[in-house]
């Protein structure tokens, strides 16, 4: 027999029980202090840096009181000059409390390592960061700019073309960190007005499955050999800045003929350049044009993959870094940009198989910039070449 009145009261009680269960589940999920409950969300405006930053900074300062505040002693003159200027910046940064950094340079693990190294070197300055693909962070930044939301301090994209555009809009702060002098001469001044500097280096190389391939291709043109039919894997220039760069470089060397011939080998086309690594690790395909950093990281895990720097030049991907003109924490931002040229950062990079910026630190596989034959696509060539490349790619590969 049904009793509508009773079951409705029970319904309300059960709703409460269900809500409590959800609450338990949410709390059991281990909500970190930074997770704001949805009910309070509408009340808060986009991040109020002062309040939250200082709250965390004061919590941290108790712990860091024991540790000495200054940077680790560095050997070279450049480093000690940098650390002198550093100390001033550091004090100012501590007052600001944190730096907000958006990066597309590398995988999440490398971003985590970079952030940890920064916190270790500069206790008292928090770092809030997102790792996302270049287009996503750029899209978010453009929307922020349109909405006049000022939350970002340091912008690290792998798409070079973002920076001249932002510079033209007048939203970048010109800044030349002292540490830039450790870099090779041709990479010291990416922009005549110092609106942006070098932030990251990576290579597109030939990667291959070590179980199936005993005699890997040594040149890009070797990939055209019919021996590799149905065994090549590539990313897509529309989805990946690295692949776009690589395509433009190949077209500069060998014209579109290269890709007409490559199409005959029926390559598997993914999205990110990292898809080549997944394909080779699983054995789905045997060779491809892939990123040095992820390939080496997978190799270190024990996966059957390795890289080959091609004789007809690996493609060097230069990614800039810039500070926003209206950054809410300008001193912390400058401190962070300086940090990118330090040995601590480069060590964190090498541990995660990324290319170190500081020449004092040896890369993971031992080959420094001077030992590698590489080519670099100029920003102008990228800006014009990549959209064109995507169209032609579409015509050749239908996707």
């Amino acid at each position: 027999m049904t009793n509508a009145r009773l079951s409705r009261r029970e319904l309300v009680r059960l709703a409460g029980a269900g809500g409590a269960l959800l609450l338990l589940a949410a709390c059991g999920g281990g909500a970190a202090p930074s997770a704001a409950p949805p009910s309070s969300a509408p009340a808060s405006k986009p991040p109020a840096p002062a309040t939250s930053g200082s709250a965390r900074a004061s919590a941290k300062s108790a712990a860091s009181a024991a540790a000495s505040a200054s940077a680790k002693p560095a050997g070279s003159a450049a480093a000690s000059a940098a650390s002198a200027g550093d100390a001033q910046l550091y004090e100012a940064a501590k007052k600001e409390g944190k730096v907000v950094w958006w990066t597309a340079y590398y995988a999440q693990s490398a971003a985590d390592a970079a952030a940890a190294a920064f916190k270790a070197k500069y206790p008292g300055v928090e770092i809030e960061y997102i790792r996302q693909t270049a287009q996503v962070v750029y899209q978010r930044l453009t929307q922020d700019l349109k909405a006049n939301v000022k939350e970002l301090d340091v912008f690290s994209s792998t798409d070079f073309s973002h920076y001249p555009t932002l510079k033209k809009q007048g939203v970048l702060m010109p800044y030349k960190p002292a540490g830039v002098s450790v870099l090779p001469k041709d990479l010291q001044q990416l922009d005549a007005d110092d609106a942006f500097q070098l932030g990251s280096l990576g290579f597109v190389v030939i990667n291959y499955n070590t179980n199936k391939v005993k005699d890997p291709p040594k040149k890009w043109t070797d990939l055209l050999d019919s021996r590799w039919k149905d065994q090549v894997t590539l990313g897509h220039p529309g989805f990946s800045g690295f692949v776009g760069n690589w395509v433009v470089a190949m077209v500069q060397k060998y014209q579109w003929d290269y890709f007409q011939k490559l199409a005959k080998n029926n390559p598997k086309i993914g999205r990110s350049i990292n898809d080549t690594v997944a394909d080779e690790v699983s054995g789905e395909r045997e060779v491809g044009a892939g990123p040095d950093n992820l390939s080496l990281e997978e190799k270190s895990k024990g996966n059957p993959i390795d890289i080959m720097f091609p004789e007809d030049e690996a493609v060097l991907i230069v990614s800039p870094v810039a500070i926003m003109k209206d950054a809410p924490h300008p001193n912390a931002a400058k401190l962070f940009e300086n940090f990118l040229y330090s040995t601590e950062y480069s060590q964190a990079m090498v541990k995660t198989f990324n290319f170190p910026l500081n020449p004092a630190v040896k890369p993971a596989n031992g080959k420094g910039l001077n030992d590698i034959k590489y080519t670099r696509v100029s920003p102008e060539a990228q800006e014009k070449g990549i959209p064109e490349a995507i169209q032609k790619w579409r015509e050749i590969f239908n996707v």
Binding site: L11, G29, A35, P38, P47, E128, D275, E284
Partner: protein, 574 residues
């Protein structure tokens, strides 16, 4: 007679005839506008803006619809969606009938398994099926090669058929829920009437039962179709290697380098025409026929006896969970237990490291899990409240031009998640309503994204309730609102719960809109998983996929048990 006349009250004046409930209907319509119309309006505005300058122009539409490379994906998308919807509709309806109206054994088990499939994000299923059925490295193919000595395995998941397959197996839960919801509420007396006129069991099913469930079947088809049109993850993983671009992958390309938001907005607009066409079709098919099955007279649901077909039927039904749960999660489990997934799940490579990492070491994961649960629950609640109110207004025609509200409620689903997210962002990233950076914008986006399902569900269950019940209450003095609360809603409890889950679960597995709206403080599970897959870390992807599924499935089962206990008791004939 005289006594009745004497008791009749004078007709109340205009002020008293104004029902307070009108305010509620107006408020519901207002919220609907906020959730749906504002972002879509911004989207439309964006589609008319010239690149960079912002001045108004139709050049975007011209560019996007005059080139073969942009028209071809539209055709592919429509073919894909049609195939997926047809398969999901047929399979879903068959299983729904077997579970809701026959005496097949293991009906409860089937329900749980279908719920499990529903909890799975389709792109996670796609990743798992790549492990299983990639042409060279897929485990099923390798097993085939080992057993038969053939040079290659027979299946390639990187194909149009592969994408249809993966989308369909995760779309069946939609159609199943819609159809079984309708079949549950049907009392057997209609079938008894058919039997008493001489119809056999099969004839009754095809000529009486299923046609009565027609609105649910058609709604399920439409939902599957529109979801298949809007999915991004599965085409990204399976159709790009298959060299078959579709609308969502093309839209994503418009947001890559070079960024062409205005082209994306223009490209998305005509999809709204598709919704209109489908809604019109739905109206023509079921518009004027009567589908009420809950009436003022009592009824009993009796199960159809299958006889010796009981166990074969179960075997047939279990095929679906085998393909959508057992095999894929087995693959994910195996990968999650590997230290280096390229070496396979062999001794020496087995480890619990990734589970340790996900559950105890990696704080961002824990935060993302709790966010996912909270935001989805909030979105489902908002969506259901708005949907029930709006569906009620539409079905009972309480406001002028009520049907327009119905169309507005359905509009968001055909706009791909990515594009809706951009519309949301453009609309709510500045005063007067500043939601960006908070959980609010994600919740609002999820609620809007799945409002059509909630509305469709609410609409079909309200349609099943004959107005005579509420009218009876009103003649006894209850207001319109009172009769809704005291009479209609209790009858619809189970349907409303089903609708809530129909929004909660897809919100949990939603990726395409979350990717553009989240910030470090508001990450969710799907964005974390997708990021890791983009970085090639498939061990972590598999581990997080399994953790997420266990968590959400537990929550859902608990909620279902707690709410469902009332309703598993069948009403017995007096």
């Amino acid at each position: 007679m005289a006594a009745v006349t004497a008791r009749a009250e004078p007709r109340p004046g205009l002020a008293r005839r104004f029902e307070a409930s009108i305010l509620l209907w107006a408020a519901a319509a207002g919220v609907l506008g906020f959730l749906v119309l504002v972002p879509l309006a911004w989207l439309f505005y964006a589609s008319l803006q010239a690149r960079g300058t912002g001045e108004l122009t139709v050049a975007n539409y011209v560019e996007v619809f005059s080139r073969r490379i942009y028209l071809q994906p539209i055709v592919s998308s429509l073919e894909l969606a049609l195939a997926v919807a047809l398969i999901a509709m047929v399979v879903g309806a068959v299983i729904a009938w077997l579970v809701a109206r026959s005496d097949m054994p293991g009906r409860g088990l089937m329900r749980s398994l279908i719920l499990g499939a529903f909890t799975t994000p389709p792109f996670l299923g796609a990743v798992a099926w790549i492990f299983l059925a990639a042409p060279n490295s897929g485990w099923l193919n390798k097993a085939w090669v080992a057993m038969t000595g053939a040079p290659r395995g027979p299946i390639s998941i990187f194909s149009f058929g592969g994408a249809i397959f993966v989308m369909a197996i995760y779309s069946v839960p939609y159609t199943f829920t819609f159809v079984s919801g309708a079949l549950e509420l049907m009392s057997s007396e209609i079938e008894d009437a058919a039997a008493s006129l001489g119809a056999g069991a099969w004839r009754t099913t095809f000529q009486v039962t299923l046609p009565l469930a027609m609105p649910a079947v058609v709604s399920g088809f439409i939902m599957s179709f529109l979801e298949a049109l809007a999915l991004f993850g599965v085409p990204a993983f399976l159709l790009i290697p298959a060299r078959q671009p579709v609308v969502t992958t093309q839209l994503y390309l418009f947001f890559q380098n070079p960024l062409r938001v205005e082209l994306a907005a223009a490209y998305a607009m005509p999809l709204l025409l598709v919704t209109m066409a489908f809604l019109y079709l739905q109206r023509r098919l079921i518009g004027r026929k009567r589908f009420t099955t809950i009436t003022g007279k009592g009824g009993l649901k009796r199960l159809v006896k299958l006889g010796r077909w009981r166990w074969p039927a179960l075997g047939l039904c279990l095929l679906l969970p085998l393909l959508s749960i057992a095999l894929p999660y087995g693959a994910l489990l195996a990968t999650s237990l590997s230290r280096a997934w390229g070496k396979g799940p062999v001794p020496g490579n087995l480890t619990l490291y990734w589970y340790q990492w996900a559950l105890f070491v990696n704080k961002p994961t824990q935060v993302a899990i709790s966010h996912s649960l909270w935001y989805s629950a909030a979105a489902a609640t908002i969506a259901m409240i708005v949907a029930v109110l709006v569906a009620y207004v539409v079905q009972r025609k309480l406001l002028p031009a009520a049907e327009v509200l119905g169309f507005v409620a359905m509009a968001p689903f055909v706009v791909p998640g990515i594009v809706l997210a951009i519309g949301f962002f453009s609309a709510y990233a500045h005063p007067p309503i500043l939601l960006y950076g908070t959980a609010g914008i994600l919740i609002a986006a999820f609620a809007t994204r799945f409002l059509p399902i909630a509305y469709s569900n609410a609409s079909s269950i309200i349609r099943a309730v004959n107005p005579e019940l509420e009218n009876a209450a009103r003649t006894l003095g209850c207001g319109r609102l009172g009769s809704l609360w005291e009479v209609t809603l209790p009858l619809l409890k189970r349907g409303i719960l089903a609708g809530w889950l129909l929004v909660f679960i897809p919100a949990l597995r939603e990726l395409s809109s979350a990717v553009f709206l989240f910030t470090p403080r508001t990450t969710v599970m799907t964005t974390v998983i997708f990021d890791l897959s983009d970085a090639g870390n498939y061990e972590a992807v598999s581990t997080l996929g399994i953790v997420m599924m266990l968590f959400t499935f537990t929550v859902v089962v608990v909620a279902y048990r707690v709410f469902g206990r009332d309703f598993t008791v069948q009403r017995q004939a007096a």
